[in-house]
Symmetry: C2
Subunit: 383 residues, 2 copies
Amino acid sequence: MRQVAILGIGQTKIDEHWNKSLREVGGEAAFAAMQDAGVEKVDSLFVGNMLSSMISGQNQLGAFFSDWIGLWKQEAVKIEAACGSGAAAFRSALMAVASGDVESALVVGVEKMTDKAGRDVTASLATAADADYEVEQGVTFVGINALVMRRYMHEFGWKHEDFAPFSINSHANAMHNPYARLHENINVEKYERSAMVATPINLMDASPIGDGAAAAVIVPAEKVMRKPRILVVASASATDTIAVHSRKDPLFLQAAYLSSRRAYEMAGMAPADIDLFELHDAFSIMAVLSLEACGFAERGQGVRLGLDNRISLQGDLPVCTRGGLKARGHPVGATGMYQIVEVVQQLRGECGRTQVSGAKIGMAQNIGGSGATILTHILRNDG
Amino acid sequence: MRQVAILGIGQTKIDEHWNKSLREVGGEAAFAAMQDAGVEKVDSLFVGNMLSSMISGQNQLGAFFSDWIGLWKQEAVKIEAACGSGAAAFRSALMAVASGDVESALVVGVEKMTDKAGRDVTASLATAADADYEVEQGVTFVGINALVMRRYMHEFGWKHEDFAPFSINSHANAMHNPYARLHENINVEKYERSAMVATPINLMDASPIGDGAAAAVIVPAEKVMRKPRILVVASASATDTIAVHSRKDPLFLQAAYLSSRRAYEMAGMAPADIDLFELHDAFSIMAVLSLEACGFAERGQGVRLGLDNRISLQGDLPVCTRGGLKARGHPVGATGMYQIVEVVQQLRGECGRTQVSGAKIGMAQNIGGSGATILTHILRNDG
């Protein structure tokens, strides 16, 4: 398996882009990544997307974007793994380049969510859960996560406000990310007084949807002259039962555990080697469970990383350094690629006031559904 | 890029499986392929599907099927390229095994289309076309193909009945395929008198939808002890504009030309080396255009291969040997995998009365949309 590097990155601001079509949102990030990479063409295009067939009536996003951005004739395909679609597309592209069959690939994670009324988006997002055994009961996606958070608080004795640092950290970091959807500092009081969505998840525990796209160009590492060279040193994907109620332990992200362990092994690293972690804080409970499954905290103690200020830019494990899903925004199928792009920005030292000092190794973890599909990638600044 | 072989295959009958869920249809083919391969587990699962989010309210089919068939924990992902989803999933799996990161993969193409009323299926299928510039005008998917067929007849002077041999051949071959949806011989008279769908496409020009799944297990070639060993000697994918009206020549399948040329090159073969061709006869016009683009006929002369009886089992280029999309049926996201499975059956010599005598090399071509995504695979019996 040959070594692969990231040559260029691009992203759009996450927003309600009512004046831009699905084409335009994805194209903007794609062009930015190709421009950053200094290439006008790639062999293959991989698009990560979850909702376009339901929200925009458009499938076949591979050919759709290949056509729009002027790559037509080239291979193009769409990958879907619910909110894990972005990283899943990245991993597919990685395999293609690693195999030797493809010499360059463009990966675009894209989602356009705000053109329909809220109810349609909620129903569309529920397709990430088990249609026959979860959704049929009327539970929404946030509802499932609320049940998990409630159980976690009960099992381990945490109060709602103990989760506040995750939301506060993401909002603080997003202040300095021009691509973030929300630019608004919050504090514990605002966190606690926020409107309830599904008890105990309130507005400050839940990431906002949005329209956005993020993209990267990848090539064999030996072809990269640009400095610093950003290598993909680990890529792993694992799954769990699609329905949360089928799990022996609904408070343990089995697929995060498995994919992170495999990634550490591939990279020859341990959790302590990770300089920053772009984790999947779709809900604050998910951030906590991710940290525990990836070996950064004991079971039931992930909350403590926030309370002890370890996740901030000054801590030993900065997370969501560009705002995370919570404040940068969560255009579902694009999120995994935003995470990859943000890790690259950190490893290149391009993050300004949210730069993690001396960052050489960054991890990104993208979660599909309630932990059913989880992908972990580790990137390294190779000098 | 290491050589990959197909170790096992499985498929379900294509039908209106009202008594089986999406899970059960896909699972049946998956289990059959794993049983045929003699394996109980694989590293990774690749699912090809187009419509499940719209028809069944279920996304994230990777984790969904990994869970159902007892592969949970393993990597799993869904690939979508409209009606080309099956072959696109196959190619993604191939890249993963070829890269060396994955040692075994299960590919399942699956579609459940008959649980909703016809109108919903038609609207869902239209997501393969350009939502902004084709579907917005009210044109259906069959409508687009009808425009292409009408133009072809006008340009090259063919009559409707000249296309009859393609439909007759597919129906004749399906008679001996227990997995086929239709078991009914037709003749020119029946072809001509069939109900009109969208002029000039009548019922006998159009493939029937259905529920079905087809699957294969792939592994590195050196690990296969089973005889005959079926190698994947070429895999190529190409795209064209998503909207037919954007093409300089709407009667030429550019992506079929490019992907077949690349496949011939990879395999070190020419069209004359192909012993049988499982082509994508979603509509009879598509079969004709595919033959022309792949180098089996001159422009405007593909129809002649039917009239000259060259496409039948006794001809020099048997096509749709198990019934093709026309009579085996077209469960859209599964079709590409049915084609792969059928080529394997031919190369193994398991086709009974529709066996192509001495078949050593078979080609499969899967088309997404009106030719926007086209994948070509060549398989070889390695003895």
